[in-house]
Amino acid sequence: MGDSVPAPDKPTIPITVDFSGGLEMLFSNQKRHSLTIPATDSNEKPATIAFLIDHLCKNLMTDPRSEMFVLDKHIRPGILVLINDADWELEGEEAYELQPKDNILFVSTLHGG
């Protein structure tokens, strides 16, 4: 698929992606990633959170245990997705269309104490 490396002439969106609560282990143990992602998916539709999740699995995840992040192509239970510091439920969840400079935070919920 053409989304692994954005072609130079294709429009892109700069965003930051943060991982917390242990999820950073799946992404080269780095909590913050500044990314440039394609502005549209392979069907020329605007890039959404669903597109981003797939993009992260294919391009940024260094640990092959993808089931720690996605289950059946959706974010696995126990992970909160925050769009510019707001629960993604407030923003339309997977259908939210990414905007330049968005910050997306993936955080796994904790239970210990």
């Binding site: 917390s20 609560g21 242990g22 282990m25 909590k31 640990d63 092959p64 245990r65 993808s66 720690m68 289950l71 696995r76 239970p77 126990g78 992970i79 909160l80 925050l82 510091d85 707001a86 629960d87 439920e89 407030l90 935070l105 955080v107 796994s108 919920t109 904790l110 239970h111 210990g112 104490g113």
Partner: protein, 479 residues
Amino acid sequence: MAQYTDRALTEEEMERYSRQMIVPGMGKDAQLRLINSKVLIIGAGGLGCPAAQYIAGAGVGTIGIVDGDVVEISNLHRQVGHSTTRVGMMKVDSLITHLKGLNPLPSYIPHLTHLTPHNAADIISQYDLVLDCTDNPATRYLISDVCVLLEKPLVSAASVQASGQLTVLNCPPVPQGITSILGVTHPLPPCYRCCFPKPPPPSAMTTCGEAGIVGTVVGMMGIAQAGEAIKILAKGHHRADILNDPPHEPTFPPSLLIYSYDLEKGPSSATFRSVRMAGRRKTCFACGDNSPQNLTLEGIQKGTPNYDQFCSLPSAKVTLPMEDRISASTYKDILAGTQSEPEQKILQGILIDTREKEHFSFGAIPGAINVPFGKLLTAAAIAKREKQNGQEGREISKETYERLSSVLPREILDQEEDKKDKESEPPIFVVCRRGHDSQEAVEKLREMGLDRGGKRKIVDIIGGMKAWKEEIDPSFPFI
């Protein structure tokens, strides 16, 4: 509320609470509200100890504490309400001893039990506000559900390793099943299930015993929890009538506080981050539109929903048959060459220890190779991915070999030339901390084809290093 504020403070109360009463926003009425409040702290551990100290110090009048555990020495680096001299005592009694020394004025109510579906409503109904200081998801869902049904505000915190989270739920409480109130335009307060509708799969959960926990991180979250509780009670934010009395006071936008601390980073790198959460969900199982059909106090008492099943408490996911397992003493005999039945002699082979490198650093069985469980799972996933990509076949591709050899010792991957055609190869033994991960590891190593089609035995040591310490070497530094 009026009856709470119509008495004078005693001289002792004046003196004891003066420094907090003169803070802007507090004053006499707020202090009296604290004195007349009843708080339940569920869990007397890393969150509960610091939370209880500040709840007691601030003068909350009635403090209940629930816990069925006893104090262990490994608790004390973070559970600072206990003491070395009270190891072995019930945590609830130990903490109350400490709190009475700090402030003898409140009434302390011990609940010497774990919270269960059977006793939860009985205990929680006696209080005005609940602090969830527990350590497992099943109890967290139970507490939240009962708080929804009994209309109690809930301050929930959690911490593992070097991360912490805090959120205020159900505040002010709104009756179950009501998801909108005429004239109230802001979202109604969520419950735990509104925020976290489904628990993570057990494989993604880590506990303090297995993953470790930083005392100051969990302590910080416990103190922040007490801070929220004190504010709610002192200011009366938990009064449900603030939603009904026009003009409608806005409820507070629900938020989640995330604290990250990083031992690998330099000083001053810790961060707090507060994120906005959604309000009560119309579809919530516990508090949404149809929730009264799902959740009742009677149902909970009778075992519906089944919390353990919902969260499928971590258990050995793989159970190997006994012929694929050996005891610690058998392994010792193999090492020493003193097996009792020489005709069934098991060759010495490779021992893989799947504990984390921090655990391993304190000591291991001589000759053991450390392959932390996570790394082993990573290797298994690499191998599986190759298979799916059609690179199946007897030969592992050079690239896969290189990737695997960055996580697995070459002794396991390589096949010695002179052994290639032999009937059997030296076995692989796997040991972990307590004998759970090792069973899964055996399964994964086989899936990767390292049993060479059955020519090479792969077995685990029953009970892990804990059994090694108990059966073979009492001086072993098990951690």
